[in-house]
């Protein structure tokens, strides 16, 4: 059966993926790294373009996208959870 991705990962080691369609709680997210398919069950509704965790991320651990640190988790984040401004904080640009 042909698999269809509903999220994309930018680098293999990223701990978040980006939804490329609107997704609902309980849905299975499918994304591909090279030829290998991965799945994660959604805990939250995710709008097109928003991110979800594909691994458990502990508070103060980095959020990895593009293989780089894009900010720190402000609380524990579960796989399948929405990752955005409510649970991530920038490290830079805060004037401190």
């Amino acid at each position: 059966m042909k698999q269809i991705a509903n999220a994309v990962i930018m680098y293999p080691d990223d701990n978040v993926v980006t939804a490329i369609t609107d997704l609902s709680k309980g849905e299975i997210v499918k994304y591909r790294v090279s030829d290998q398919w991965f799945e994660v069950s959604l805990i939250d509704n995710i709008s097109f373009g928003h991110k979800l965790a594909v691994k458990e991320i502990k508070a103060f651990e980095p959020i990895i996208k593009y293989g780089e640190n894009i900010g720190l988790a402000t609380c524990d984040i579960s796989a399948g959870e929405h990752v955005h401004v409510h649970n991530v904080d920038s490290v830079r640009g805060k004037g401190n």
Binding site: S47, F48, G49, H50, K51, G71, D89, R92, G95, N96
Partner: protein, 385 residues
């Protein structure tokens, strides 16, 4: 590949042939608009600066206005001043005259008010238009192109689709011997270490890192937390969480070419190749700076869509978000959302953008030109006094 360009006396080549009626100060902006409105083919721009400025700030404003006059898309320039402003109209005209193109000056306080200045202005601009119509056109190589690459109204599709595709096009232009600019210093925050590795020398790499550090130090000194502006509310609604994430997606539009140097806002490069220009993340100010640096065409990537254009340069709009591609279709030139939908690769859309550049250089109008978009804003680096 080649394009049919307009030859300028200094050897540069334009892709458009505008007669520019340039206000040296906000006080002469209405007068220049009235003159330009009366002669077909003439353009003006809404200058909101030019007075009560000092130091670096007035120098940057002068350099930017001069850059617009010097840009090869402009055949001839009428500078209109008021007479008592910080940006002296005669000094501005001298900087433009270095290019060898026809330049004249009218000063409202010397000519005697709006009505007389508009009358005299129309006379001069009509003469300039006749001159512009006689400018020789010639097929030239793509090495004559200078392309600014900008992003605005970004969302997470920008880093997946429109920026990587624009980066492919930027690389193709550089491979053809042309010049491209990346800009927007705040949008290097968190990604500068990656770009610095592409610098032509360790010195240029260090200059790039230092340019970002200087910007961040300014934030720290003033205790400014710039979240709220970077990422913007629209960026956040589109799924971008932090400035680091936005920057890492933004630098894709710079492709893979080596970075030759860091240019000041509105500074012209000395050689052909890829450059970074120090500018704000505010897209219209950044566009204005790159055009002042000599860009004849801008690539403008977006996720959410934007109508922004320029008074003298075609702006090619490239969108990555499939839903917004349909909602904002009136304003979009290249649809990169096909990448997100799995219908085209980044390489294929990059080639589409490259082909679009060549067509636009040969005279095809962009959506922003068809719709008469003339957005213009000079980046201020000091207070008004």
């Amino acid at each position: 590949m080649e394009f049919l360009g307009y030859l300028r006396p200094n050897g540069k080549v334009g892709v458009r042939n505008h007669v520019l009626v340039l206000p040296s100060v906000v006080c002469s902006s209405t007068t220049t608009a009235q003159i330009a409105a009366k002669v077909e083919g003439a353009v003006s721009l809404p200058n909101q600066t030019g007075c009560a400025q000092v130091g670096n700030d007035v120098e940057q404003t002068m350099r930017t206005l001069a850059g617009f006059g010097r840009n090869p898309n402009v055949a001839a320039v009428l500078v209109v001043g008021l007479g008592c402003e910080s940006v002296n109209a005669y000094e501005l005209a001298e900087l433009i005259k270095e290019t060898g193109k026809p330049v004249e000056v009218l000063v409202i306080q010397e000519v005697g008010g709006t009505i007389k200045t508009v009358e005299k202005g129309i006379e001069i601009v009509k003469r300039f238009k006749e001159y512009a119509d006689q400018v020789p056109r010639k097929m030239v190589g793509l090495d004559e192109l200078v392309i600014g690459v900008e992003c605005g109204g970004s969302d997470t599709t920008s880093g997946i689709a429109s920026n990587p595709a624009a980066g492919v096009a930027s690389d193709l232009i550089v491979e053809a011997g042309g010049t491209t600019f990346l800009s927007e210093t705040p949008e290097l925050i968190g990604a500068e270490h990656i770009l610095a590795k592409r610098a032509i020398s360790p010195e240029v790499g260090e200059k790039l890192i230092q340019t970002v550090a200087t910007f961040e130090e300014k934030l720290s000194k003033e205790g400014i937390d710039f979240r709220g502006a970077q990422p913007s509310p629209g960026n956040i609604a589109g799924g971008l969480t932090t400035i680091e994430e936005k920057s890492l997606g933004a630098i894709y539009k710079s492709g893979m070419a080596p970075i030759l140097d860091v240019l000041a806002y509105g500074e012209e490069p000395k050689e052909k190749g890829h450059y970074f220009m120090d500018s704000p993340g505010f897209d219209v100010e950044s566009n204005t700076g790159m055009i002042a640096s000599g860009a004849q065409i801008l690539l403008f990537t977006t996720g959410r869509g934007t109508p922004v254009g320029s008074p003298i340069a075609p702006v090619i709009k490239i969108i990555g978000n499939p839903k917004m591609a349909s909602i904002m279709a009136d304003n979009i030139d290249v649809d990169a959302s096909l990448i997100v939908q799995g219908l085209k690769t980044v390489q294929e859309v990059g080639k589409d953008i490259f082909n679009e550049i060549v067509e636009v250089a040969n005279g095809k109008l962009t959506k922003a030109e068809e719709l008469g978009h003339f957005e213009f804003a000079i980046n201020r680096v000091g207070p008004s006094f």
